[in-house]
Amino acid sequence: MSEKHDVSGVPTTGHVWDDDLGDFTNQPPKWWILGLTASALFVVVYWIYYPSIPFASTGGFFKGVGGWTAIKEMEADKGEVDAIRGKFEAKLKDMTPAAILADKELTEYVTRSGKVLFGDNCAACHGQNGIGTHDKQGLFAPILNDDDWLYGGKIDDIYASIAGGRQGMMLAHHPNERELIELEHLEKLGQAGAEAHNIARGLTPHQIDAVAKYVLALSEGKGDSPEVAAGKRVFMSSDCTACHGQDGKGIQAMGSANLTDKIWRFDGSIEGIKRTISYGVNSGDPQARVAVMPSFKAAGKLSDAEIKKLAVYVYKFGGGQADAPAAAK
């Protein structure tokens, strides 16, 4: 078979076409043969080492001698991440939120990992970055990045709010029909008589209107103006002061709103204020405002460390109030 091409001197298979076309029997280069062999070996080893062949009959597959699975690889990667987080998490466990806040490095860590927690657990109501959410009745959940706190803005207060949850409470002040007739009758007899009764019975529309105007003026710093003197009288003589205080600044322990600042929990328009006074908050009235925050500790929804993280995260939105002048920023 083997012949030589007459011009090049290369061995041929002996086939000749068109007089002079020969079929060379040149060997491929050695490196190429070696590469091909190595690749074939690699494929065999790969198929044995890794999961490779599916079994149609059983629905299973050959698992490979190396025991590799994607889950194991992911767990290993997670292990790496946890190792980095580990030292922070270990420290966090036994620290108070205030102590975390005092540690700059930990605060940095917590504000980063807190972002995810906040997004998962809080942002649905409080909005991303605590900007609050609104529904048709006004502000649905409080804004967390301002400096107004119903239940206190110190780090421990925030922690307590997240852990225990909060329930707003304010009675409805509109009277029912029978009461209304009675109240209007009393009102005709004179202010004093009406005021004597409205502690238990609620307020007449006229009184609600007056007190709403007073509250609005209060937030503008005009609470003493003569135009709202009537409203002020109602405020001072009714049950308003029981929760909001004589000065209208609210009592944090009760979660009653500070009426003298410019931040409104629900709706700061005159109509909105009237509605809040009329139907209350969580009062059971169908038109009442709803202000419910669940406890995040109760059902084991969040771990203590996670609540601490969230407390620091929320505190760092900008509204957090320092415990004492010396406390860290």
């Binding site: 900007i131 990045n145 301002d146 107004d148 410019k262 931040i263 900008g318 509204g319």
Partner: protein, 493 residues
């Protein structure tokens, strides 16, 4: 062949003619001793090792000096400056130290200008004086030169080396080979180490190395450079220039008829011919006595008399060789000399400023250089970026004022930590900066971020967006400062 500007003028490429000449030469016998070496010449296809003869001369000396610049490569990393390595490309910490200067990744744009500068510098030099880089400076040429010098010292001159190669294995041959390869490997290892210590502290590196505690990447780099040096300078040698190096190919086409390069003066040399004892026929002969010394000394094994070609690294060693022969035969020097093709062809030589290509390169060089100078003088010691919070743009506070939140990112480029104060210009009347009541600490060599609030009374806010410029300034040195222009957002007034 890279150029071949005037193929009709240069001697025809190698072919049967050359083979005939070879035969003819063998028959010619010992007309003179130098012809003995010619038998070994053939066009360099890489199938035979080039054993270049080493001859003293002007260009040999120049080459020795220029190549010794590479000593800097070995020695500079050991320089110390203020207790630290003077020149250090600290990749782990992403810093580049150059004596007092620290360059952080943020300023790395200057690197692109530097690369442009170097590339254009290479082109400009090449367009004026051909492959100066290849011949006198390139690491490939230099390391190969040292490797062959060692080979020359151990195994003897080229003919002895060829004999040794052909000889059967003997104790003597093994001894010589072992010594040679050992020294080569030591140089290769030193090269690898020297490269590495530009990137990690030299003394730390040595300590890690002798304790076998280098990190994996350290070993990989060292082994790569060891093998690279050993193979490229020891085995591949000129083949690297001819088939591997892209710059060799690029530079080959950067020359033109105005470029001066080592050239054979064909007008004077042709027709070449053997030197005969008798004067017969010598009148018709040119000055070239066809001694092949220019080929013998060529480290890339080319025949310069065939004109500029890819293999020619313009090292000038053939000029030394030819001059020494011309001295011996009593003819003027410069049969092979640095000359442009125009000059060889008798055309008037143009001035450098008549060479637009060079001028274009110079223009780009100046631009790049200007950019680098600007960059280095405007490095600053600190940079500031301020990112205003977008969600929410602003927060209404209980007293009716409006607060904006800003994320400050301060990059301290000095070599020490320092405290900074934050001030603002513009913005809203009577605004208050919260979060920077006390000076804030910035860490050197990396970014430090802190949150700053700006609060302003709602009554003073006249626009939805008010420009504000923050200034961060070192407490110790007021010259270290940086500004950033951003915006203060408020509600629609």
């Amino acid at each position: 062949m890279a150029s071949g500007e005037r193929p009709d003028k240069v001697v025809k490429p190698v072919g049967s003619e050359r083979v005939n000449k070879e035969v003819e030469n063998k028959e010619a016998g010992n007309v003179t001793e130098i012809y003995r070496e010619f038998e070994t010449w053939q066009i360099n296809m890489g199938d035979k090792t080039i054993h270049a003869k080493r001859m003293p001369g002007v260009f040999r000396t120049v080459k020795n000096y220029t190549q010794s610049l590479w000593l800097l490569f070995f020695l500079v990393p050991y320089l110390r400056w203020n207790g630290k390595q003077a020149v250090l490309f600290d990749i782990t910490n992403r810093q580049f130290h150059f004596f007092n200067l620290t360059i952080l990744p943020q300023d790395i744009w200057m690197l692109s200008l530097l690369l442009l500068l170097l590339a254009m510098g290479l082109f400009a030099v090449t367009s004026v004086a051909s492959r100066v880089w290849c011949g006198y400076f390139c690491f490939q040429s230099s390391w190969t030169d040292w490797y062959t010098w060692i080979e020359d010292k151990i195994e003897g001159p080229p003919h002895a080396r060829r004999k040794l190669e052909a000889a059967p294995w003997s104790l003597e041959k093994i001894r010589k080979k072992i010594i040679k390869h050992f020294i080569w490997m030591v140089i290769a290892l030193l090269t690898g180490i020297s490269f590495s210590i530009w990137f990690v502290d030299a003394f730390d590196y040595w300590s890690m190395l002798v304790h076998f505690q280098l990190p994996l990447v350290g070993w990989v780099v060292l082994i790569m450079f060891f093998l690279g040096t050993y193979i490229l300078a020891g085995m591949l040698r000129e083949q690297t220039c001819m088939w591997l190096c892209p710059y060799a190919r690029i530079q080959g086409v950067m020359t033109d008829s105005q470029t001066i390069l080592p050239a054979y003066d064909f007008n004077r040399g042709e027709p070449r011919g053997k030197l005969h004892h008798k004067a017969e026929g010598s009148a018709a002969q040119g000055d070239c006595i066809d001694c092949f010394q220019c080929v013998q000394v060529c480290p890339t094994g080319v025949d310069i008399r065939e004109g500029l070609q890819l293999g020619c690294i313009t090292c000038g060693l053939c000029l030394d060789a030819c001059d020494s022969i011309m001295d011996k035969v009593g003819k003027p020097r410069g049969l092979i000399r640095y000359a442009s093709l125009d000059e060889l062809e008798g055309k008037p030589a143009k001035k450098i400023y008549q060479h637009p290509r060079t001028l274009a390169y110079l223009g780009i060089i100046l631009l790049a250089f200007g950019g680098i100078v600007y960059g280095l003088t405007h490095l600053g010691s600190m940079t500031l970026k301020v990112i205003p919070e977008r969600q929410p743009l602003f927060v209404s506070l209980s007293d009716g004022s409006i607060q904006n939140k800003y994320e400050f990112k301060v990059l301290n480029k000095t070599d020490r930590d320092f405290f900074v104060t934050v001030t603002a210009e513009g913005g809203v009347k009577d605004q208050v900066i919260i979060g920077a009541e006390k000076p804030l600490l910035t860490h050197h060599g990396r970014g430090t971020s802190f949150t700053i609030f700006v609060k302003a009374s709602g009554d003073n806010i006249k626009n939805e967006v008010t420009p504000i410029e923050f200034r961060v300034q070192s407490v110790e040195d007021p010259l270290i400062a940086a500004e950033y222009k951003t915006k203060f957002n408020g509600p629609k007034p």
